[in-house]
């Protein structure tokens, strides 16, 4: 066992990048759990990540197992055929067949991804699933489900109840039994701002995220859905009040406060509104962890100096008084490896605990590293003798 580093941890969402870097064909990557987990593990080692989660198309497998149609690209992640939703009409719900969660579609592949990751030293020890709202969107299409909410709210509630009570609860039991996990994270990217307003999130997302959390707790699973990510693309529309409402959505869904600074433009947003939120809770004796993501497009486009600046700013702002963890957000397929190495190296250099009083006094030069292929060849050579 490697000793736990006494610094801020760094992880990444990186399925596209892992597939691209390792050159594994999409068909194999998204059907062969052993190949996928090994690839994740190698790439995590190459970059020096602290933890990895072998997850890719985490919004599709449940629906595919129920009969939903996926498009398999030659070089891309499978995606749901949005032209052809599984529930074309509300009455189709009556005929929807529950899958055998341990056998149907690619659920065995997902279960193996979770199980095999768990066995790896750096592998995430939690399962994952598609959150209730995103699952409803997958079954009906986004415009279809939004229309349900507005025009057929009884059906929208019935569908969400079905998803939690019949689909997710049973699926989580299988994850617990087969993978040996006691925790599972619900990915719920559709339940973000500005896809929905905070009011809509509170009405149409949170109750079912709470419901799955409460039901899973009854059989010993700790479950949380990541709702309410603030992803406003237009900087001029950034609104601290909307952001604070997003944090309240996250708190209500998870049952504890967090500040998820996720897929949004956090390299451009001000961080003071986050501090205002955590300071207000601290006055009530509540500490708020901060999960800060490094923007995917910044990681790809760079420059390296901007990536370094962003991560340093996160550490400077939250490193001392908050429980801070850093994630690289969905590293794009063609991201130069130098950018990722620089991001990880910044965390290693500036994230040592206790965090230095003056980060500017720490000398830092972005590392120059061998390519992944060179690194892998060298590693295999060493392993062979």
């Amino acid at each position: 066992m490697t000793e736990e580093p006494n610094r801020i941890k760094i992880a990444a969402q990186m399925h596209d990048h892992v597939m691209s870097l390792t050159g594994i064909p999409a068909r194999q990557f998204y059907t062969d759990a052993r190949v996928m987990v090994e690839a994740f593990s190698e790439v995590a080692d190459y970059y020096g990540m602290d933890i990895f989660r072998a997850a890719g198309d985490s919004y599709n497998a449940e629906i595919e197992a129920m009969g939903g149609k996926l498009i398999y690209g030659e070089h891309s992640m499978p995606t749901l055929d949005s032209r052809n939703p599984l529930l074309k009409e509300p009455q189709d719900l009556q005929n929807l067949k529950l899958p055998d969660f341990s056998r149907d579609g690619r659920l065995p592949y997902i279960l193996d991804c979770i199980r095999l990751s768990r066995e790896k030293e750096k592998g995430n020890k939690s399962g994952f699933f598609c959150g209730p709202f995103s699952l409803a969107v997958g079954l009906r299409g986004f415009p279809g489900f939004i229309k349900d909410i507005r025009k057929r709210p009884e059906f929208a509630r019935e569908l969400l109840d079905f998803i939690v009570d019949e689909v997710l609860v049973n699926y989580l039991k299988v994850q617990q039994e087969y993978c040996g996990v006691t925790m599972s994270d619900g990915f719920n990217a559709w339940a973000s701002i500005p896809n929905l307003s905070a009011g809509e999130l509170m009405e149409w997302v949170v109750p079912w995220s709470q419901r799955v959390r409460e039901k899973a707790a009854r059989f010993g699973m700790t479950v949380g859905c990541l709702d309410g990510d603030y992803c406003e693309e237009r900087l001029e529309k950034f609104d601290p009040e909307v952001l604070h409402n997003a944090f309240e959505v996250q708190r209500a869904s998870l049952g504890r406060p967090i500040c998820l600074l996720g897929q949004g433009r956090w390299h451009e947003y001000p961080l003071e509104p986050v501090l205002d939120y955590t300071a207000a809770l601290r006055l009530q004796g509540i500490q708020v962890p901060v999960i800060a993501w490094v923007n995917a497009r910044l990681l790809r486009d760079g420059p390296v100096e901007a990536i370094i600046w962003m991560i340093k700013r996160f550490i400077q702002t939250f490193g001392r008084n908050h429980e801070l963890s850093l994630h690289l957000a969905n590293i794009p397929a063609d991201t130069p490896s130098d950018h990722v190495h620089a991001a990880v190296a910044v965390v290693h250099a500036f994230g040592k605990k206790p965090i230095a009083d003056n980060l500017d006094e720490i000398a830092f030069t972005p590392p120059r590293r061998e390519t992944f292929q060179e690194w892998r060849a060298q590693r295999r050579k060493s392993a062979n003798g």
Binding site: D16, M19, S20, A26, I71, G73, E74, H75, S76, M77, T79, L80, D81, S82, R83, F142, P143, I146, K147, I149, R150, I193, P194, N195, L196, S197, E200, E233, R234, K237, D239, V242, A296, R297, R300, D301, N330, P332, A333, D334
Partner: protein, 213 residues
């Protein structure tokens, strides 16, 4: 007459698709010229939705409902107006590239472009490269809009532009790109003429590409 166009505008703005469509039929039956229905009722409705979006008062849910009502209303009136009246600003060919099934952003872009006065031909999702080329030759659009929503399908944007260059078509059409993983930097890198950050930005950039009004 004024009342009914206001009602149409409100129906589109509030995403009441069935109501918008029946009001449009009523207005036409009452003798209102189709182009008046479009310019004074339907288009102001989608434009008002865009303004509320900019003010953080509308979210994607609202925009989707408005875009759907816009499309439903336009279905009734479009066959009754000439191409020039419908799309005087220019012809815009649009599609999500091969391997990409996402249609949400494109749906809003299409509605906003039509509202702005473009004649829009939507090729849908997962569009093969060859189809883009064939349609550029056949339809002679002013602008080709390429949507991409996954980082793994991004190379297809560049591949379409390269194919246009190889076929000697690149000078005939301006190319815009858009979609979640795209950026201005990426647009520059692949020699696109413009990048649309979102539906509203796409309208501004498309108008700019058409030159001074």
């Amino acid at each position: 007459m004024t009342n009914i166009v206001e009602e149409i505008k409100t129906a589109v703005l509030e995403g009441e698709d069935d109501l918008a469509q029946s009001l449009v039929r009523q207005a036409l039956n009452d003798g209102l010229p189709p182009i008046e229905v479009v310019n004074r009722g339907i288009v102001p409705g989608i434009q008002a939705a865009g303004e509320l979006w900019q003010q953080n008062k509308y979210f994607h849910t609202d925009m989707i409902m408005s875009a759907t009502a816009f499309r439903t209303a336009m279905e009734v009136v479009e066959p009754l107006i000439s191409e020039v009246e419908a799309g005087g600003l220019g012809k815009f060919l649009i599609g999500a590239v091969a391997g990409d099934m996402h249609d949400l952003g494109k749906m809003m872009v299409v509605a906003m472009l039509r509202g702005a006065g473009f004649q829009v031909v939507d090729l849908g999702e997962d569009v093969p490269r060859e189809l883009f080329l064939d349609k550029v030759i056949e339809l002679e659009p002013n602008i080709l809009g390429l949507g991409c929503y996954m980082t793994t399908t991004m190379p297809e944007l560049e591949a379409v532009i390269k194919s246009l260059e190889e076929q000697g078509l690149r000078q005939r059409v301006k190319v815009m790109i858009g979609g979640v993983p795209t950026t201005q930097e990426y647009a520059n890198q692949i020699r696109a003429d413009a990048w649309g950050k979102d539906a509203l930005d796409a309208i501004i950039k498309a108008k700019k590409l058409m030159g001074p009004e």
